[in-house]
């Protein structure tokens, strides 16, 4: 340590010398000064990581100024950790000099920790600067997410208000959506042709909203199927989805007073692998020759394989998905397509319950707000005030 103390004034002298020496000579001086330790970093600050579950501290430091770096370009920093200010310190990481902060996790909440940051160069290491004590803790509110909380609350209030209003008998206008109107017609067609209906609930899990919307449409289809005495085939990819689809179809038969006609073998599981599943559904289409195919839920690359095969087998096809990449394929091959939000709206349309339609109104109000925010936001960005846009950049 003594040697180091001695070296610091030497180093300062060295810096002064350097600034006097013409640039061309600097290299020679640097070579001869190889025994000098690298300059220290400064301002080592430890703070609790904000908005985290706890156990993490953030260490920040400032590299030596450019004059010192010109004398001895440092390679990086070493970070040491200890429970005591005076050590012993344990090396926890080495970082390149571009890193100006480090997050140290897996610490104990409420304990004090000290960090020492040293600079390294040419295999040498500065004596380092030790920080003040840092105490990690977990937070009870993530302030970065405040904007989302505000939106969740406002949106919930709006939605609930409209739902209550609708229960009170307020009548909402909803514009017609072709794909939804087509659902009933397509079922009628199947009846006329005496052929079954194929309902594919996609590859989503039961917790995906698109799949949940698919259940609602299936409920409608199943109800009509019972009414017209046709048959609906539901091949499944996910067993939980299958369980719910069975429940939905069974309920349709039960509420029509014909529980004995329900055949659980019509709502069945194929396999949980995308293309083997697709291959099997293709097989169903060509062998059962359904009059109408529904594709509702989440679809990926198999969308076009299914829709083309369905076309070849001469079925009317109605698709609905929120998977943007696949919508173009459904649009070009199917007769009707519910795009994105329309799929979710379908459940409200088909149930015809006013309280379901209430949330549609809330969604529209949300869109009006978005339109206004976009207009304001773009104007503000254009006149150079980017703070507004950053408000939406939540963590």
């Amino acid at each position: 340590m003594d040697r180091v103390k001695f070296l610091i004034p030497t180093f300062i002298l060295f810096i002064i010398a350097i600034s006097c020496v013409p640039a061309a000579a600097a290299d020679i001086v640097a070579d001869s000064a190889i025994a000098i330790l690298p300059p220290n970093v400064s301002d080592v600050i430890v703070s609790d990581k904000p908005n985290d579950p706890g156990g993490t501290l953030v260490v920040e430091w400032i590299l030596p100024d450019s004059a010192a770096l010109a004398a001895m370009p440092i390679k990086g920093v070493n970070i040491y950790l200890s429970g005591n200010h005076d050590g012993p310190f344990e090396l926890i990481t080495s970082l390149p000099k571009s890193a100006l902060h480090y997050e140290c996790s897996d610490l104990q909440d409420g304990e004090s920790y000290y960090f020492k940051v040293t600079a390294t160069a040419n295999g040498l290491e500065s004596d380092g600067i030790t920080s003040a004590a840092g105490i990690p803790s977990g937070q009870w509110f993530n302030t970065e997410r405040l904007p989302i909380l505000i939106v969740v609350i406002l949106f919930s209030i709006t939605a609930i208000t409209f739902i209550i209003k609708a229960r009170g008998g307020y009548d909402f206008y909803v514009r017609p959506i072709a794909g939804i109107k087509a659902v009933d017609e397509a079922i009628g067609r199947a009846t006329e042709m005496g052929r079954p209906i194929l309902y594919v609930p996609g590859l989503g899990s039961a917790a995906d909203v698109a799949t949940i919307a698919a259940f609602t449409i299936l409920a409608r289809v199943a109800k009509k199927v019972v009414e017209y005495n046709t048959r609906v085939i539901v091949p499944n990819y996910d067993p939980v989805v299958m369980a719910i689809c069975q429940e939905v179809v069974k309920e349709a038969y039960a509420s029509a007073g014909k529980p004995e006609l329900y055949d659980p073998k019509d709502v069945y599981f194929i396999t949980q692998d995308q293309f083997p599943y697709t291959a099997a559904v293709n097989g169903v289409m060509l062998r059962e020759k359904p009059a109408t195919n529904f594709y509702m839920g989440m679809f990926y690359a198999e969308s076009l394989v299914l829709a083309e095969t369905g076309f070849v087998s001469g079925s009317i096809q109605i698709a609905g998905t929120d998977q943007l990449v696949q919508i173009p394929f459904f649009v070009s091959v199917c007769d009707f397509v519910l795009m994105g939000e329309e799929l979710y709206a379908a459940s409200a349309y088909l149930s015809r319950e006013p309280q379901q339609l209430g949330t549609l109104k809330a969604q529209d109000l949300g869109k009006v707000t978005v339109v206004i925010l976009i207009i304001i936001g773009v104007i503000l960005s254009t006149i150079g005030m980017s703070g507004f846009a950053n408000w939406f950049n939540v963590g």
């Binding site: 990481t93 970082l95 963590g395």
Partner: protein, 281 residues
């Protein structure tokens, strides 16, 4: 009479058996694989950005290239991985890779080892393959803390700390950038966690279909570059001056696309011709 035969011709064309189209596509794909054509390649800025970023890195920097492709999607993404591996190794950069898709692990492992051998690179010193762990979102989050958290050992069972390359390589902040080659929606996790939470500079290599989706993230600055499908891979091959599998497949694409466009044109000519004829009657 002639009118009648004409109409039949156009209508027949409209109703053409799809299998003729299938056959044409089959021929179009097969024949160019036998001869090399060598179409010129035009480099887009989103691919150039990835190249420039990596090209500017100093020797010895660690580039993380997680690869998530499987047998079904390797057609598009493997050439991309090859090109990136080649670029990094030729610049003496170090590669840290992993594969968070179970079906792709052995594929990626072999691909990386193969290109490394080409450049005489040594495992553990010049590149490291972490392997697979389930739940990509959790793994990606944990790697942001420390690679050792989800992967105390690498794919081959070595302790990470025993590998010379991993000395001082703690988490994303120890890597110069991440280029994630991904055929799954798991790419979102890399965006949300690696870039969103840990601020790691991130570029993506995705299939052509996914590329449309990820332009949004390019525009919003969450990723600094985007390599889309074989086209992107062939652009990268051009940038590193190494004609690979992507360039050859691009020849097929060029012809196949043209043929499909010709189909569309014929379809429309037939459509309008048959419509006019119908009006005459």
């Amino acid at each position: 009479m002639s009118n009648d035969t004409n109409r039949n011709f156009w209508e027949k064309l409209l109703m053409i058996d799809r299998r003729w189209i299938y056959l044409t596509i089959g021929i179009v794909v097969f024949v160019p694989l036998l001869f090399r054509i060598g179409m010129p390649v035009y480099v887009t800025t989103e691919v150039q950005n990835v190249y420039d970023y990596i090209d500017a890195l100093p020797e010895g920097a660690v580039v993380m290239i997680p690869c998530e492709y499987d047998p079904a999607t390797m057609a598009e993404l493997r050439p991309m991985a090859y090109a990136l591996f080649r670029h990094c190794f030729s610049k003496n950069l170090k590669i840290l890779s992993t594969s968070l898709q179970i079906e792709g692990v052995t594929l990626v492992k072999d691909d990386l080892a193969m290109i490394a051998a080409e450049y005489g690179k040594e495992y553990g010193k010049d590149y490291v393959f972490l392997g697979y762990k389930p739940y990509p979102s959790v793994v990606i989050l944990n790697m942001g803390e420390n690679f050792r958290k989800p992967f105390p050992k690498d794919y081959y069972g070595n302790n990470l700390d025993s590998l010379p390359m991993m000395k001082g390589v703690i988490n994303y902040s120890s890597c110069a950038c991440i280029v994630n080659i991904n055929a799954t929606s798991g790419a979102d996790y890399w965006i949300n966690y690696a870039n969103g939470r840990y601020k790691a500079p991130l570029a993506l290599g995705v299939t052509a279909v996914m590329a449309t989706d990820y332009y949004t993230f390019l525009a919003s600055g969450q990723i600094f570059g985007l390599i889309g499908g074989l086209k992107g891979a062939s652009e990268y091959e051009k940038l590193i001056n190494h004609t690979g599998p992507a360039a050859r497949a691009m020849d097929v694409q060029s012809i196949a696309h043209t043929v499909i466009v010709i189909f569309i044109v014929i379809g429309n000519v037939a459509y309008f011709a048959s419509k006019r004829k119908m009006r005459n009657f």
